[in-house]
């Protein structure tokens, strides 16, 4: 039953990609992709709920549906759904109808690879799935074929491949370390590795964990390995930016979390956690510095992703039930919120015909409803109450105090305040700032009319954010506690 649902969930985007390749009619492929995303979302919700009775294993243990993976699937499905709705409206504006079939084929393929990476039970297969996400999304990043997008795509594939090869080295060394315990040949599933971990060699385990952390950390966009992220996020079409930020980064974070629980079981001390926490703080710092002095609207959102991945890394680095619950809650809230922000940025960019914040003026008067929606999103993404990110950040802060990372908590607080001021200052400029020539030159009402496809997903993202900000569902809390138990249970 669960297996069948999981299979259908994987088949839906695969089928959508195949049909897009065959049919090639722009209006048809966009609907097919939308249908596939609805199917994925409709299946992801019950799978997440039922994953608690698992973990379910399929195909000789190569595939697993566990609590943690199911949560990443849910986040991915949410972003996939929102981005698919948005893409219908946004991609029509690009006037690239002739190539839309390719876009949608890659788009559903991209969603498929992220979903696959979440259910891979074998460390090697997980690596392959992550590598596949890179291959598919490179073409999406470069889709607009402007020199900038190609530059971004090139940096993306080179930096990620180089980074991810470090993760492969770490994976091989972990296998070697395990083979000292389990004999030369064994299945490298997460559970078996974790079971063997207490007998692993400490020095080698630290070396391999660091390699894996830096490797997958490149993909997560933790500073200082984040160099590809602002380029790729800002140059790809807005729905893809949302997918990269809201879905892909979580998928790579999953690998770090799984390896973290293995290295906990290997009892190599607090060192691994401290490293992850340090990466989190550096990401917040880099995010803060670049957010304050930023002039690209989507680059602003991209650096905010660096910041939020830093917060998630802090949550997992602090650990404990609170840290894990906060980090997982933050993942979902960030997925919703960052989609909202990128959609708004895409709309505004189209309306004003510029990517520069200094050219975007008078959003408030020109797009009152959309502007209010986007502003609410901006308040939410900076961690203001009453939105979900406020709750998750508070929980992560508490976790930090509980586990003796006071220095990181103070740094996080200070940097979050800097980011709050810096980020909203840009919005002040865009909403109430003095007009500039570019803004005036496009002051033609029809540029500012938005299609329903472009605004509806923003409402769909804001509503749950608000709900999650005032009410943390008990079932979700139980889910997080179960994840925390599963991650900790291996550590004796």
């Amino acid at each position: 039953m669960i297996g069948a649902l999981l299979l259908i969930m994987m088949l839906a985007p695969a089928l959508a990609a195949a049909v897009s390749l065959i049919v090639r009619r722009p209006r048809v492929v966009e609907k097919i992709n939308l249908l596939s995303s609805i199917a994925v979302f409709a299946l992801a919700v019950p799978l997440t709920v039922w994953s608690g009775r698992g973990p379910y294993r399929f195909l000789n243990d190569y595939v697993v549906l566990d609590l943690l993976g199911a949560w990443v699937i849910l986040c991915t499905a949410v972003v996939y759904l929102l981005a698919s709705i948005y893409a219908v409206g946004y991609m029509r504006l690009l006037e690239e109808d002739g190539r839309l079939w390719g876009f949608y084929a890659l788009f559903s393929g991209f969603a498929l690879t992220i979903l696959l990476s979440a259910v891979m039970n074998n460390a090697g297969l997980y690596w392959i799935a992550i590598e596949l996400t890179t291959l598919v999304s490179t073409f999406l990043v470069g889709f607009e074929r402007e020199p900038e997008s190609i530059e971004a795509a090139w940096k993306y594939i080179i930096l990620i491949s180089a980074g991810i090869s470090l993760a492969l080295l770490g994976t091989v060394l972990f296998y070697w370390n395990g083979s000292l315990v389990l004999g030369p040949s064994y299945d490298m599933t997460w559970d078996i590795l974790r079971g063997a971990a207490p007998k692993m060699n400490g020095a080698l385990a630290i070396l391999s964990f660091l390699l894996v952390l830096i490797g997958y950390g490149t993909k997560v966009g933790l500073a200082p390995m984040h160099a590809w992220l602002p380029d790729a996020h800002s140059e790809s079409p807005a729905p893809i930016s949302a997918m990269l930020s809201g879905a892909l980064l979580n998928g790579a974070m999953l690998g770090i979390v799984r390896y973290l629980s293995i290295s906990d079981a290997a009892q190599i001390g607090i060192f691994t956690r401290t490293t992850l926490v340090a990466f989190g703080v550096i990401s917040l710092l880099v995010g803060a510095l670049f957010i304050v002095r930023q002039d690209g609207i989507k680059r602003l959102m991209a650096y905010s992703s660096v910041e939020h991945m830093g917060v998630v890394a802090l949550g997992f680095g602090f650990g404990g039930p609170l840290g894990i619950a906060g980090a997982l809650y933050h993942m979902l809230n960030h997925s919703l919120n960052k989609s909202l922000m990128f959609f708004g940025a895409g709309n505004v960019m189209r309306a004003f015909g510029s990517k520069r914040i200094s050219d975007i003026r008078g959003v408030w008067t020109r797009q009152p409803v959309h502007g209010a929606l986007w502003l609410a999103g901006a308040a939410a993404i900076t961690g203001a109450p009453p939105f979900g990110l406020f709750l998750s950040e508070i929980v992560i802060l508490r976790a930090g105090f509980e586990h003796g990372f006071e220095w990181a908590v103070y740094a996080m607080l200070a940097l979050l305040i800097v980011i709050f001021i810096g980020f909203l200052n840009h919005f002040r400029g865009m909403y109430f700032g003095r007009e500039t020539p570019t803004a005036e030159s496009v002051a033609d009402a029809r540029h500012f009319a938005l299609s329903g496809w472009c605004v509806a997903p923003m409402w769909l993202a804001l509503a749950p954010l608000l709900v999650f900000g005032v009410w943390w569902p008990t079932d979700m809390w139980n889910h997080f506690m179960a994840v925390a138990n599963a991650l900790a249970s291996a550590a004796p």
């Binding site: 020199p147 090139w154 080295l169």
Partner: protein, 226 residues
């Protein structure tokens, strides 16, 4: 584990091959001409294929023969051929933009090997494997990794960046044969195919770069900063 109790002949064969491939990595690092670069990469892949075969022979892992054949075919022939075709089409015979002279790059590469040796020695000691071929394999693996990164950093020709990435993976391949010959076959085959896709990807990107930016030097990629 295999590396701990090998007969002396096998140990010296493995060491020889590991060192030859490390030397070939240095040839790549020191060469200014893309063709030499490419030949050295192909030769290195062949050496690694031979290493797989001999590990398969001495360690009695028959599936490694298949991997040897695949490595030789894909990494030794097909990948270099693909890159060579792009080199010919683009008319870029030599590296024009380089931050480090090849001679200084060699010195930095030597430092990288020393660093890798220090790390491998430390790990080997804590595993009780000091003085075995495992330490050598780990050294070569890590230093090829670092040399690959060095190539990525100091070369700006798009094609040499592709080759740099392939060297990164070659290092892992070589180390994996000696350290974990039992790693499931599935994974290694998929890695081979994966690389093929990477090169296909890169081929397209290089074409994009030429048509839109006008050169394949990544130095001209500097619009996106900050």
């Amino acid at each position: 584990m295999l590396a701990a109790h090998l007969d002396p002949l096998a140990a010296s064969v493995f060491s020889l091959m590991a060192i030859v491939s490390l030397l070939l990595a240095f040839v790549m690092l020191g060469s200014r001409w893309l063709n030499n670069y490419l030949y050295a990469f192909a030769a290195e892949s062949w050496v690694i294929a031979a290493l797989s075969a001999s590990v398969g022979f001495y360690g009695n892992y028959p599936e490694l023969y298949l991997i040897a054949v695949l490595t030789a075919l894909f990494r030794g022939l097909f990948l270099p051929y693909l890159v060579w075709r792009i080199v010919r089409r683009l008319n870029v015979a030599r590296e024009i933009h380089e931050i480090l002279q090849p001679s200084s790059a060699l010195v930095v590469g030597a430092l990288a090997v020393m660093f890798s040796l220090a790390v491998a020695y430390r790990v080997g000691q804590s595993l009780g494997l000091a003085g075995t071929v495992a330490v050598l394999a780990l050294t070569v693996m890590l230093s090829m990794k670092l040399i690959g990164f060095l190539m990525l950093a100091v070369r700006h020709e798009a094609l040499s960046q592709i080759l740099g990435l392939l060297v990164l993976e070659n290092g892992i391949f070589l180390g994996a044969q000696v350290l974990v010959p039992g790693m499931p076959l599935l994974i290694e085959i998929v890695i081979l195919f994966d690389l093929l896709i990477v090169v296909a990807c890169f081929g397209v990107l290089v074409r994009y770069l030429v048509t839109h930016v006008g050169s394949t030097s990544t130095l001209s990629l500097r619009r996106l900063v900050g």
